[in-house]
Symmetry: C2
Subunit: 412 residues, 2 copies
């Protein structure tokens, strides 16, 4: 019996894992998806910031939003401790609990569900965030005694033009983003957190993503979204140094002290009308985006990373690249970490497909909201997309060591 | 501009691809999912049989069922020719059409959607099947003049005990199974076939699978399903020689001559109540399955591939491994090729997760139907699963050469 995934995983993968890592580096410039899929190593769980934000974006996603059903603060705190222990183990490639899927007393349910037995850590990161509803006072009751700790930056996102949000797949009390190079590892992690949380939380909504649509490191090639264009060329990246302090990480004095070193994540499920897009001419597609489809260069430029000329005549007034450019928003930038999705079909003969947008930032009300308001008003791309879900979560700083837990400063 | 994916893919991946292939072989015994994900090479499209059946099961799936909306037989035949050309190109790692996503006249829509630009072939296979409704005579009209060519083996699957089938995600006129080591490549293929079929077909339903749950070759390790158990240990495999002629491939004299060399595929979307399963004791889980969870050995045996002792006292009367064993069905076997899925959540606080069962065989009415009838009546596993969709499709023999097309013998 294999009580720990690492016993099997590390032993059998040792040399092969190193060889693959080396090869993946060579391939990274042209084949982001397959190259990255070779990465089997773990990502460190402890740190100043949570992993899964500037960590080079892994290929696969399982994102879950939970509703808290217990009414007891102590249950919630216990769950955070239990989840942190499980996350610490799983990101290291181990079972979710001490006895694993096949150990312990046989008359007890296993404390791991087993589908990741034998799989390597596969770059798993687990990133937690707290939604505004967790801090809510309703009918005079402060759900968990957190009402006065809600950061101003966690105010609800205002309704934006064109929003077609479905409440059932929006919001939530707690989110967990699981990213990995192996979807089975990401699914296993969310499923085991849900199992551990039985009776305290239920899954409100959940989203799988099969292909990353952004690079979060200069070591990664820019991938393509389901419009066929390179996406996230100008994304904030791990190597951006002090810009990350300006744009990504909550700083001392920003408001709620427990969020210092954290970040705010916005999620938007963006359904694409890909069948309509696919009948649009290449010229029009490129005008709408403002980039060449082949190599991703801004219109009128030659290479992907050339600076767009926003004054150029061949760049349409409402080109996406112009509207989304930091110069159109007082320098506001986002660290995007989105994924392509296909959720089957829509019953009307079309694929239910699009982009699950994920963006981290220091203050969504100063970054995502103004950017999206302008896009929602002017972007021609709106003819081809629809925002069907929305979430805003406060992601606390990293777990420092074995004694720390997710949200410890919030509950202290 | 990259008109052909192979120009970029092959050139940049050459040496790296070989290195990864070698490493993947070393890893196969312990890490089926990640090891296989390294495979970037193409799978041959032409052959006696369609690829994607005994091809070693790739890690990722996009399965689509189409309704034919044109009423003209000539449209349908033209579509089969166009689809075959596109499939031939895409499985070789090329764009879906001559001008790709970024070539040709800019005032025309691209003839590839672009999201797979720069990705290698990634083992893509595309496998087509024809549903019984394509051969239907309704209100005295023979839809496509095929009524007298419907094989007896393509008779509708009878209603089975416990079926909870949803019509909207069952059946269909034509299915295409896309398997690949890169989900973006599989999604791209289905999406481009849908694009090419605009006005002639619409997508009836579509299913993504993130992790294979069977091995179809002795070179592959047995993967785990979402119950955490190794699945498909006794599966029919590519190396089974003459057993494949008995159990998998339609033989001369089996009925409709156009199906000789083909196979019948049954699909069943099996929702798992994983939350209930996760609260079941390890002992009970192992009794229900009839195998040890850790190494997959039959109860009372030591190793995964040991023959189960169906007479043993420690094997429950209704253990899954006993009920599904060929000895319980006059030797009937299946080539299973299923995938794990998570389709978000179900609105009741649970993951909408399970197994998308795919099985190929010579005659579903002599193989799948009696096996499933017994399982549906007696298997304790039924407390934890629900069949929500069903499909049966006749998969014709392989495309022989550049002039041949999918279903040519049917339409001849």
């Amino acid at each position: 019996m294999t009580r720990r995934r690492t016993v099997l995983g590390a032993a059998s993968l040792g040399i092969a894992g190193v060889a693959i890592g080396a090869v993946a580096g060579d391939m990274a410039s042209d084949s982001p998806s397959v190259a990255a899929a070779s990465t089997s190593d773990p990502v460190a769980f402890h740190g100043e910031h949570q992993a899964g934000i500037v960590t080079p974006a892994q290929d696969r996603l399982h994102f879950a939003s939970f509703d808290v059903i217990t009414k007891k603060r102590s249950d919630l705190v216990d769950l955070m401790k239990d989840w942190t222990n499980a996350a610490r183990r799983m990101t290291a490639g181990r079972d979710a609990g001490q006895y694993g899927a096949t150990g312990g007393p046989g008359e007890a349910p296993p404390d791991d569900t087993g589908e990741a037995l034998g799989l390597p850590p596969a770059g798993l990161t687990l990133t937690i965030g707290f939604g505004g509803t967790l801090f809510r006072t309703a009918d005079g009751v402060d759900r968990f005694g957190l009402a006065d700790r809600r950061p101003a930056a966690l105010a609800d996102i205002p309704r934006l033009p064109g929003d077609a949000l479905e409440a059932a797949i929006s919001g939530g009390d707690i989110c967990v983003q699981a990213c990995s190079y192996d979807p089975q590892v990401a699914v296993h992690a969310i499923r085991n957190l849900a199992r551990i949380g039985f009776g305290k939380v239920t899954i409100r909504w959940s989203q799988l993503g099969f292909g990353r649509t952004s690079s979060t490191s200069t070591t990664q090639a820019t991938p393509r979204n389901l419009m066929g264009f390179k996406d996230g060329t100008r994304n904030l990246k791990a190597e951006d140094g002090k810009v990350l302090a300006e744009q990504l990480w909550v700083q001392p004095g920003d408001g709620a002290a427990w969020m210092t070193g954290g970040s705010y994540v916005v999620t938007r499920r963006i359904r694409m009308h890909i069948e309509t897009w696919d009948r649009t001419s290449l010229d029009e597609q490129e005008q709408i985006i403002g980039r060449h489809k082949g190599n991703g260069a801004p219109l009128g430029k030659r290479a992907e990373f050339d600076e767009p000329d926003l004054a150029a005549k061949d760049m349409a007034e409402d080109a996406h690249v112009r509207l989304a450019h930091p110069d159109s928003h007082g320098g506001a930038q986002l660290l995007r970490r989105g994924y392509n999705f296909v959720d089957g079909s829509d019953g009307l003969g079309r694929l239910n497909a699009g982009l699950f947008f994920i963006a981290y930032q220091r203050d969504a009300h100063k970054q995502f909201v103004p950017v999206q308001r302008l896009l929602a008003q002017k972007d021609t791309l709106n003819e081809y997309i629809k925002h069907t879900s929305s979430g805003l979560f406060a992601c606390p700083p990293g777990v420092r060591d074995d004694k720390d837990y997710w949200g410890s400063a919030l509950f202290a």
